[in-house]
């Protein structure tokens, strides 16, 4: 695993997130559920907790966008880049953007939203890419069944280096 330069991390354990728009590929309920479960990947192994908010400030702002979308890192159409996220910090820090030229799904067809969201939230929390194949933070998309998804040891060690273990 790797952390970003300077190891930025959130200095609090209760983080808020806000979904500012939705993909037309899935119902809002399915997007909400995928995002909630993606955060749980990380809250299951750390003291972090995530709370969804609907208006006002949020630490992690989540949205779907195509091509240039105002952050200086335009998406590239269908394929290749699927999403990106910013390291912990104020403002755009922690924010996560999904390329809406992809077709998002809750299954193994096209691109599974839960898997990509869980990876991106790793960035939002301070993890950089891992070069361990099979780790969630490996940069290349690979489908695994979300129902049986398990965070790899590499990812768990990385996030616990930043935030510690979940209290028993």
């Amino acid at each position: 695993y790797a952390t970003f330069s300077g190891s930025p991390r959130w200095k609090k354990t209760l983080l808020t997130y806000k979904i500012v728009n939705y993909t037309p590929d899935l119902s809002q309920k399915k997007v909400d559920d995928a995002i909630r479960r993606a955060f749980m990947v990380w809250s299951d192994v750390t003291p972090l907790q995530f709370k969804k908010v609907f208006y006002g400030h949020a630490d992690i702002v989540i949205g779907f966008a195509r091509r240039a979308h105002g952050d200086g890192y335009p998406f590239d159409g269908r394929g290749n880049t699927l999403a990106h996220a910013f390291a912990p910090g104020e403002g755009i820090g922690g924010d996560t953007h999904f390329d809406d030229d992809e077709i998002w799904s809750e299954t193994n067809r096209e691109i599974n939203l839960f898997l990509v969201a869980a990876h991106e939230f790793g960035h939002s929390l301070g993890l950089d890419h891992s070069n361990v194949r099979g780790a969630l933070m490996y940069p290349i998309y690979s489908y695994v069944n979300p129902a049986t998804f398990k965070l790899s040891e590499d990812d768990r060690r990385g996030i616990q280096k930043l935030y510690g273990k979940k209290p028993s």
Binding site: L82, A83, H84, D99, H119, E120, H129, N131
Partner: protein, 76 residues
């Protein structure tokens, strides 16, 4: 007549694609700004545990085409 291309030599499109990929995901920094394209391809191949050839071979080209996260793999 066009000369036959040597195996592993990227076409101009492949060359542009790999350069764009490396610029985005394995950007040059102060310490690495003098690396040749071959060295940069090697760096990428090492990261992905591919066979390190420094050439745009089929395995490397396939990796470049796979869907992925938009964050860089190697950052300063």
């Amino acid at each position: 007549f066009p000369t036959p291309r040597k195996p592993g030599t990227p076409s101009s499109t492949g060359f542009e694609n790999v350069k764009a990929y490396l610029d985005k995901f394995f950007p040059l920094f102060t310490k690495t700004k003098h690396l040749s394209l071959e060295e940069r391809i090697k760096e990428m191949q090492r990261f992905f545990h591919l066979t390190v050839t420094g050439k745009l071979d089929a395995e490397t080209e396939a990796t470049i085409k796979r869907p992925r996260c938009g964050m860089p793999d190697i950052a300063e």
